[in-house]
């Protein structure tokens, strides 16, 4: 017998591709690619059981009431508006640049980095909806209110730091958040008329 260096025969690897395909298809089916995004909100804690129903009396000028009825019509303050107008109404309300009598009162507030500033610290946006309101309309309104706050935060970030809000450091973001805290109150649910 010749002692030639015998080659080990190659393992037939033509089916590796098929095996990999099977795995690929398995993962395609069982997984989903959706990146979850959404509007983040914070709910108020539940009312205490023995708590008296004493409504916090807020001055009328400090509250912007946004109502959505069962036909998805939006009322802001005391006039009907469309969703597109809401953002500007909310911004105008929070800013109150000219110290208007009917817009929230300005008071001095001490904020890190910014120092003393005049803000409408007591403003509240009260959102009320009917049980028949569609979820789509509700999210639309929530979105516009958050958009108004984000716009204002970006503006003040640009002015103070020359950057947009998302590019600021943690401390700076916290200061901006104190400058424009989100004050959205959702009323205890009520059912206004009919289903």
């Amino acid at each position: 017998m010749a002692k030639g260096n015998r080659k080990v025969p190659d393992i037939n690897s033509s089916s590796t591709a098929d095996i990999a395909f099977l795995l690929l298809i398995f993962f395609l089916i069982t997984t989903s690619m959706d990146t979850d995004r959404g509007l983040v909100r914070k709910l108020p804690p539940p009312p205490e059981k023995d708590q008296k129903q004493t409504d916090m009396v807020a001055k009328k000028r400090n509250v912007l009431i946004v109502k959505i009825n069962m036909n998805n019509e939006i009322m802001c303050g005391d006039s009907y508006i469309t969703v597109d107008q809401l953002k500007n109404r909310v911004k105008e309300f929070i800013l109150n640049e000219n110290g208007d009598e009917n817009l929230p009162e300005l008071s001095e507030k001490n904020i890190p980095i910014f120092g003393k500033v005049m803000l409408t610290a007591k403003h509240v946006i009260s959102l009320q909806n009917d049980r028949g309101t569609s979820y789509d309309a509700y999210i639309g309104v929530q979105n516009e209110i958050v958009a108004a706050y984000n716009d204002l935060r970006n503006e003040v970030s640009q002015k103070q730091f020359g950057k947009s809000y998302s590019e600021l450091t943690e401390d700076q973001q916290a200061a901006v958040r104190q400058y424009y805290p989100q004050k959205i109150s959702e009323a205890e649910p009520k059912s206004y008329g009919g289903k």
Binding site: S13, S14, T16, A17, I19, A20, F21, L23, L24, F27, L28, T30, T31, S32, M33, T35, D36, R37, G38, L39, V40, R41, K42, L43, P44, P45, P46, N129, D130, R131, G132, T133, S134, Y135, D136, Y138, I139, G140, Q142, N143, V146, A147, N150, P189, S191
Partner: protein, 154 residues
């Protein structure tokens, strides 16, 4: 002159497929990394509304999902066409939401419990009534951080 070999059948050389498995593996790894396992089989169908100010949902392990919508075709005979809530793999009533949240929280690591988040995946044609009920239940269960699932729109 040039020889034209007419009689000899020239076979097309076989395509070299030795790198095919590598290609497929690359694809496989790509999908394994960018996708997440589906944890529940959906029994309700929903199309989430769209919004411009969405934020990304961080840390999936802290998030509990509540699905609200109409039952899928499969269950529409059994459950009717009304809006239903799905918790985990089963249909549920509003009254079960609170217990479900408390149980889910108990299953989480103690250090993570304060950071629990609830993601509401609600069909955009739903009425607010059922959403309000769920929100009340979440308040009672002290699950106060919520996320209205929405698609990003420009």
């Amino acid at each position: 002159m040039g020889k034209f070999n007419k009689s000899g059948k020239k076979e097309m050389p076989a395509l070299n497929t030795s790198s095919l498995p590598d290609l497929i593996f690359t694809l496989l790894f790509f999908f394994m990394i960018v996708t997440t396992m589906r944890e529940v089989t959906l029994k309700v169908q929903f199309r989430v509304p769209s919004a411009t100010e969405t934020e990304k949902l961080e840390k999936k392990s802290l998030v509990t999902f509540i699905y609200v919508g109409k039952p899928t075709q499969e269950f529409i005979n059994k459950m009717g066409a009304g809006t239903r809530i799905q918790l985990n793999d089963a249909f549920a009533e509003v009254s079960q939401v609170q217990d479900y949240i408390i149980q889910e929280r108990a299953n989480m690591a103690e250090a993570d419990q304060p950071f629990m988040q609830v993601s509401l995946k609600v069909d955009k044609d739903c009425k607010m009534g059922i959403v309000t009920d769920i929100k009340q239940a979440l308040r009672q269960a002290y699950a106060l951080k919520i996320n209205y699932s929405a698609a990003q729109r420009q």
